[in-house]
């Protein structure tokens, strides 16, 4: 190891990284998103994707869904730090592999090509609920909903099928069954 003259300790080994989806219920007020994002950047946590929208107008609540990676200790720390923020009501933490939780992302694809080409694209996207939002005789805008990795794959595959533009959301999540997270 090279001589280090840093005033701080040498980092110890980094544990195994996990991907988690955090759902954060917050007051929908000015700067709340900046508080959440600032916490992540300030403490060096990752954000893979982030989705936010108001879910309850009466209660003035927004729901933020964050996909993040980190060691289990770091993930726990993120949850605890989030809970300390004044406008945060509750935080749910799911592993990406969790079978009891549905994760979905949405993507819009702009395809340039004739109708047979577009048909082909629809066929490829069949598994992901494709919806045609706009169609001309040489183009189409197609919406799909799927998991992140599936959308990644589709984006790659459709390049050769006339895909010229992609717009996508972050993940949203919901537990299966009748129960809700409290």
């Amino acid at each position: 190891m090279a001589k280090s003259k840093s005033a701080y300790s040498i980092p110890s080994k980094i544990g195994k990284l996990e991907t988690h989806i955090l759902v954060v219920w917050v007051d929908n007020e000015a700067s709340v998103l900046s508080r959440v994002v600032g916490l992540f950047s300030g403490r060096g946590y990752n954000i893979e994707s982030l989705t936010v929208a108001e879910v309850d107008q009466k209660e003035n609540l927004s729901r933020i869904t964050i996909v993040t990676t980190g060691t289990p200790e770091v993930i726990k720390q993120i949850v605890l730090q989030l809970k300390k923020l004044v406008p945060v009501h509750k935080v749910a933490n799911f592993k990406r592999e969790d079978k009891n939780v549905i994760f979905k992302e949405m993507a819009l694809f702009k395809i340039v090509g004739n109708s047979s080409k577009i048909k082909k694209v629809l066929n490829v996207c069949k598994k992901f609920n494709p919806v045609i939002l706009d169609q001309t005789n040489k183009s189409a805008v197609i919406q799909i909903t799927a998991m992140r990795k599936e959308i990644d794959k589709m984006t790659k595959n459709l390049k050769s099928h006339g895909l010229i533009s992609v717009s996508r959301t972050g993940a949203v999540a919901m537990t299966r069954g009748a129960g809700i997270f409290n």
């Binding site: 001589k3 280090s4 003259k5 840093s6 300790s9 040498i10 700067s31 900046s34 720390q77």
Partner: protein, 588 residues
Amino acid sequence: MPKLYTGAEILFKCLEEQKVKHIFGYPGGAVLPIYDELKNHSSVKHILVRHEQGAGHAAEGYARSSGKPGVVLVTSGPGATNVVTALTDAYMDSVPLVCISGQVPTHLIGTDAFQECDTTGITRPCTKHNWLVKDVKDLQRTIHQAFEVATTGRPGPVLVDIPKDIQFAKAKYVSLKKEKKIEIKNKNRFNQIDIDQLIELMNKASKPIFYTGGGVVNSGPKASELLRELVALTGFPITSTLQGLGSYPGDDNQFLGMLGMHGTYEANNAMHDCDLLINIGARFDDRITGKIDEFSPKSKKVHIDIDPSSINKIIKVDLAIVGDVTDVIKSTTKTLKKKNLNLEKSNKQKISKWWQQIQKWRTKQSLNFINSDKIIKPQHAVQRLYELTKNQDTFITTEVGQHQMWAAQHYKFNKPNRWMTSGGLGTMGYGLPAAVGVQLAHPKKLVVDIAGEASILMTMQEMSTAVQYNLPIKIFILNNQYMGMVRQWQELLHEKNYSESYTEALPDFVKLAEAYGCVGVRAKNPDELDEKIQEMINVDKPVIFDCHVDQAENCFPMIPSGKPHNQMLLGPKDQEENKITGKGKALV
């Protein structure tokens, strides 16, 4: 129709209801309506500082020594940015501050107006929470909530940014009693099962230790009383962090002294070898733990903290108890007594071997230094200061550096709230303004800032504040003409390349004192030290004491870099035998 009040009036009504007696501030364009209103509220005394950073640190000193939140009032733009260091300092050391800042009028926000800055944006990472008040109707609720957030749970700083037009605008004011109680975040969550588990661990332990921190002080004077009872009841040894000093008597036999980088040999070795470590209100700071992988390897660890995010952040613990220190210790002692375990007697037997080991470590006398009769040793100066002030209730503040560590090592505190130092952020320039705040909270008491000549120059201007309000603070400068701690690291780790750590031109501190209208005292040799210190204490005016000390003195003991607790570097003698190796340099 109910009476309407201006925003400025509402602010003062809130401060009155919060029983605020002092605010530290500096006027400016965007807070003028508030300053205009000041004259109508005689119960709130404004202390005019000379720089907003000074206002922040003074409020910190006020808060830490009194247990009440410190209140700061600054203007927009530079007023707000100048207070950022103090807010960050308070955030790191969990000091309750409420900072009110003026802002440009609402319609000018975002236009790069004169003295505009994004105050809430800038202070977001260094406050527990902050607010920009955009409607005067929200002002009252916001101010009261600000006090609530600052003082509950783990305390910390908050900021309320009030645009100038809001200070003029009018709204109703409803007395706090009628207002429904504001929802408080995070409450105690520990239960009896946790306490029973703790007692189980305490019963089994043969090498236990208490490791206490600033949380005990923050929990209030009652926590310190209860801690003393618990320590006596169990017969366990106790060590404290820098911030926890005073919560347990420094001269008690069960107290091992401070732990950590410049802690005592016995405290650090006991931390390393113990089989039960009970952390009460401390946070496993990196200056405490040394090398994490080898931190207290054989112990079961218990962590008592009000902030759940402090637990398992750095060191994984076996038992976590989330709660206010006072409540947790109270339950523990109660249960101990109820079970009638009589730990004191049974444990004494069991842990007597442990105490024998500790006594062995103690014989190293790790705080010893080679005294001189020609030149004042800084440790000697602190010891003499302690001996000559211990007969009265003395409050000590410090700046940051070697002098701070010597003060922590050689000044012994018997009560909480008597020791104010910047630990987490390590802010040079903290001590002088903090002393101003302490003296205001305790007008008749002796307040001494143990300082270094480099630190003191950073906030020197606040001497003017001390003179204005007749605050007889004593600035006790250990003057070695070096940034001592920088110099020490350069000596030990950077081949004695003393790059920029020597101050070539220093003011004449005695003349400087006179220029400010206070008293200057200088001591150059050990013979005159006592007499001069006595002279300083006897003067009922602010004093700058210029104590010329050995320039080459280093602060020991020290956990050298890359080493765990049980491999400490002791004084000059021991050093010859244990040179720091290359890898170790990383850790200081």
